[in-house]
Symmetry: C2
Subunit: 193 residues, 2 copies
């Protein structure tokens, strides 16, 4: 997606040779116009597969998930929670995802009532690197007895294995931009399909 | 806001006499259509005051903040983070908010670069109870040298002191629904203005 690639090149920052910071527009400050453009792009790609729920994980997946859901006829969004709250219900679907950014394990949790069996679920997230969050969300979709429509991602780090693993597993993966490498502080991006 | 009040009465759940669960449409599963209707309502109310940034806190404030920002000519959203990540920048504005739901203190953090001094900031959150999160976000607005336009909330718990304290401090507070009490498992709501 050209607009996203241009924004990454203009505003993305490298930390070492593996971290791409996109805080400026994707996961701390949100570029609202770009967020809706990305949501429309995901909706255009997955709309023919008729998802009826968008599933993401807090916190930084929520904005893109809501924008995509808006262009999919305002279907509901469900976001997995990372920590148990005092007033959560007992019947939670859970799956563990390791966070390489934070260096810890998160138990992702979704209330079973919000993923009715038989639903067609589109998984959306802002980032795909090692694929831990996507893998955990897909596990939750399967536990719920739902059908996975596909996985929509804003920025895939192509030099980490998450995208390859999902594609090899036959998942319909759409990444709006793919970082192929970081060399000497410069971000290299794949061309669009 | 009539649509929100009806949804609270239809789908909200009481836990004891002080907790209102609105997981079904506001902070675990998101009712996308309602979220945009609420965002439009906040934008209509605060638009004349010309905010140029919407500030919220992860995770469940993000969706309403994005929807409001969309109807305010797609101004950017900034969301405060609750936990330090490994790759955050050093120059963070911080303020502590106590969470009565989780029973702990959160240090809310915003990168100073994303709240340029002189900006006009609208604070948005899903819930207002004791007002800890709003108070912390307002402190961050002040630390940044920005102007607070007001505070927009989906559900205020009117029997807890957060709303009163903000109004007494002269804050322009707009709550789209106000729960006045929970009695015998029934939610009572204030009428609209």
């Amino acid at each position: 997606m050209r607009e996203l690639r241009e924004t990454i090149l203009r505003q993305g920052q490298c930390v070492g040779d593996s971290i791409v910071k996109v805080d400026m527009f994707l996961n701390h400050r949100l570029d609202t116009r770009l967020m809706f453009a990305m949501g429309r792009e995901l909706a255009d790609y997955f709309g023919k597969d008729k998802p009826d729920i968008v599933l993401t994980v807090e916190a930084s997946g929520i904005a893109l998930a809501l924008a995509a859901a808006h262009f999919l006829d305002d279907i509901p969004v469900v976001f997995a929670k990372k920590s148990p709250a005092a007033n959560q219900s007992a019947d939670m679907l859970t799956a563990v995802a390791h966070s390489f950014t934070h260096g810890n394990d998160n138990a992702l949790r979704v209330d079973r009532r919000y993923l009715p069996a038989g639903s067609r679920v589109l998984v959306v997230d802002d980032f795909l690197a090692d694929g831990e969050a996507s893998r955990a969300l897909i596990s939750i979709v399967e536990q719920a007895g739902c059908t996975l429509v596909g996985v929509g991602i804003a920025v895939e780090k192509g030099f980490q294995p998450g995208g390859r693993k999902l594609r090899e597993a036959g998942v319909n993966l759409k990444s709006l931009a793919i970082v192929t490498s970081i060399q000497d502080g410069r971000i290299q991006l794949a061309d669009d399909d």
